[in-house]
């Protein structure tokens, strides 16, 4: 079953099923089609190059997404996104997830377009955890690997991002987009 690590066949078998997800996530990060393509290409290149360092039977998906995200963060757009949004250190700590009434959670009533606009409006760093959780269906542990943060931070980030989305949709907040182009 286990092919030789570093072989093209094994890399293809593991990487190609992730291609669509990686591209979708790259678009959400870069917010630009050309840049997303570059990101995916760069990610594949780096991943194949470093494939020998990938430990078999560990989480390949998290490894690939982590490479993609790190590639983005060192790109011009990524650096700008990081600078635009100065993360509040307090936010990064594990905060208990607070109880909210079902009414306040009414995000589902939003249209797809409204929700996409709200996601667009969030700075990149404020939507990646929820996208990995809800769109990619990653476990907290995987997200922690992608974002290089502890699991507790992942949980509070997801909670925060969901809350921000709800506030955006309710018109209670308009977050300046750190990733908007031009």
């Amino acid at each position: 079953m286990k092919a030789q690590t570093g072989s093209y066949g094994e890399f293809e078998r593991l990487a190609m099923p992730l291609f669509d997800s990686l591209y979708n996530f790259a678009r959400w990060l870069a917010q630009d089609a050309t840049e997303a393509e570059d990101l995916v290409q760069e990610t594949f290149k780096k991943a194949l190059h470093g494939f020998s360092s990938f430990v078999p039977d560990t989480d390949f998906r998290a490894w690939m997404f982590r490479i993609l995200r790190n590639t983005f963060l060192t790109s011009r757009t990524g650096l700008r996104a990081k600078l635009t949004v100065e993360l509040d250190p307090a936010d990064e700590e594990t905060t208990p997830v607070t109880w909210e009434t079902p009414e306040s959670l009414a995000l589902a009533s939003a249209t797809r377009e409204a929700l996409q606009a709200a996601l667009d409006g969030l700075p990149v760093m404020y939507r990646e955890a929820v996208l990995l959780c809800d769109v990619e269906e990653m476990k907290y542990q995987e997200i922690a690997q992608v974002l290089s943060v502890p699991v507790g931070t992942v949980m509070s980030r997801i909670a925060r991002e969901r809350k921000l989305l709800r506030q955006m949709l309710a018109g209670e907040r308009s977050v300046r987009s750190g990733s908007a182009r031009k």
């Binding site: 093209y8 066949g9 890399f11 293809e12 990487a15 190609m16 099923p17 291609f19 669509d20 591209y23 979708n24 678009r27 959400w28 089609a33 997303a36 393509e37 995916v40 290409q41 594949f44 290149k45 194949l48 208990p96 997830v97 607070t98 109880w99 909210e100 009434t101 079902p102 959670l105 009414a106 995000l107 589902a108 939003a110 797809r112 929700l115 996409q116 996601l119 929820v130 996208l131 959780c133 809800d134 769109v135 269906e137 476990k139 907290y140 949980m155 997801i158 909670a159 969901r162 989305l165 709800r166």
Partner: protein, 263 residues
């Protein structure tokens, strides 16, 4: 019975399926008795579903896929590859189409399971919830069915050697139903058949297992009118059939009828 306040901080972890298994079970039981937690969990699950729909937004250019495929194979990139386009379309169907639907169903099932437990015995509620999980988990996965075929003469033999029994599938010609495919499912370590049928825009799961006491369930179960989620179950020649989906009750009844008379 654990106090409600201990659960309130964990609703998100429950909805994200991040609680340890015993706690998932315990939470599910709590949902049956607690409308507050149940409605919060439902709202969160719906918002998860909404984010998924919105987040699955960008389809990759087929040329990029072709290039990456060649690259992964260690071959030179090419400008265009028709095969890549086909696979793209397929992925769109499997992953994106199915997950949205499955999550919608998940939300309904959660509600349904909650309503159900309030009025019924725990053991059977557990079986209902477990089938709901099987249904949702399978359909939310990248490959909902292992054998993709509308032909019952392909699907039935596929299960031979994979499950410890055989069953008959109805002829669906001149019916509003289509066979989508099948996969092997496990209920308490016991392999069985999971068949997926299409009906209008709905997908209906049919599970077939050798009958055991653990599979005891009420003959039919309907959630409230708004969710129109339906489950039916019966035994036939030592086999337990479970049919569930969000199609209307009449459609479920009609497919039940077809299955009962399959030969």
């Amino acid at each position: 019975m654990t106090n409600c306040s201990t659960w309130q901080g964990r609703v998100a972890s429950y909805v994200d399926a991040e609680l340890p298994l015993p706690e998932m079970e315990a939470f599910r039981e709590h949902l049956a008795t607690c409308p507050d937690c149940a409605s919060t969990a439902l709202a969160l699950m719906e918002s998860k579903m909404a984010v998924r729909r919105a987040g699955n937004r960008y389809a990759a250019p087929p040329e990029l896929r072709a290039n990456m495929l060649h690259f992964a194979k260690g071959e030179p990139a090419v400008a265009h590859n028709a095969a890549g386009r086909d696979r793209e379309g397929y992925r769109n169907f499997t992953a994106r189409h199915w997950t949205g639907w499955a999550l919608a169903t998940a939300a309904l099932l959660l509600l349904a399971a909650g309503l159900f437990v309030a009025a019924n015995r725990r053991q059977s509620a557990k079986a209902v919830a477990e089938f709901a999980d099987l249904h949702v988990t399978a359909l939310a996965s990248a490959n909902p069915v292992e054998v993709v075929s509308t032909d019952r003469h392909t699907v039935k033999p596929w299960f031979q050697g994979r499950i410890p029994f055989t069953f008959d599938l109805p002829d669906l010609q001149a019916t509003p139903f289509t066979l989508v495919g099948g996969r092997v499912a496990y209920f308490h370590q016991e392999p069985g058949a999971h068949l997926v049928f299409g009906y209008q825009r709905h997908f209906i799961s049919v599970f077939i297992f050798r009958d055991t006491p653990q599979l005891a369930m009420p003959a039919s179960f309907f959630a409230d009118n708004t969710s129109s989620f339906t489950l039916r179950t019966w035994t036939q020649q030592g086999l337990r059939y479970v049919i569930l989906g969000d199609a209307n009750a009449a459609a479920i009844a009609s497919l039940t009828e077809l299955l009962q008379h399959a030969r």
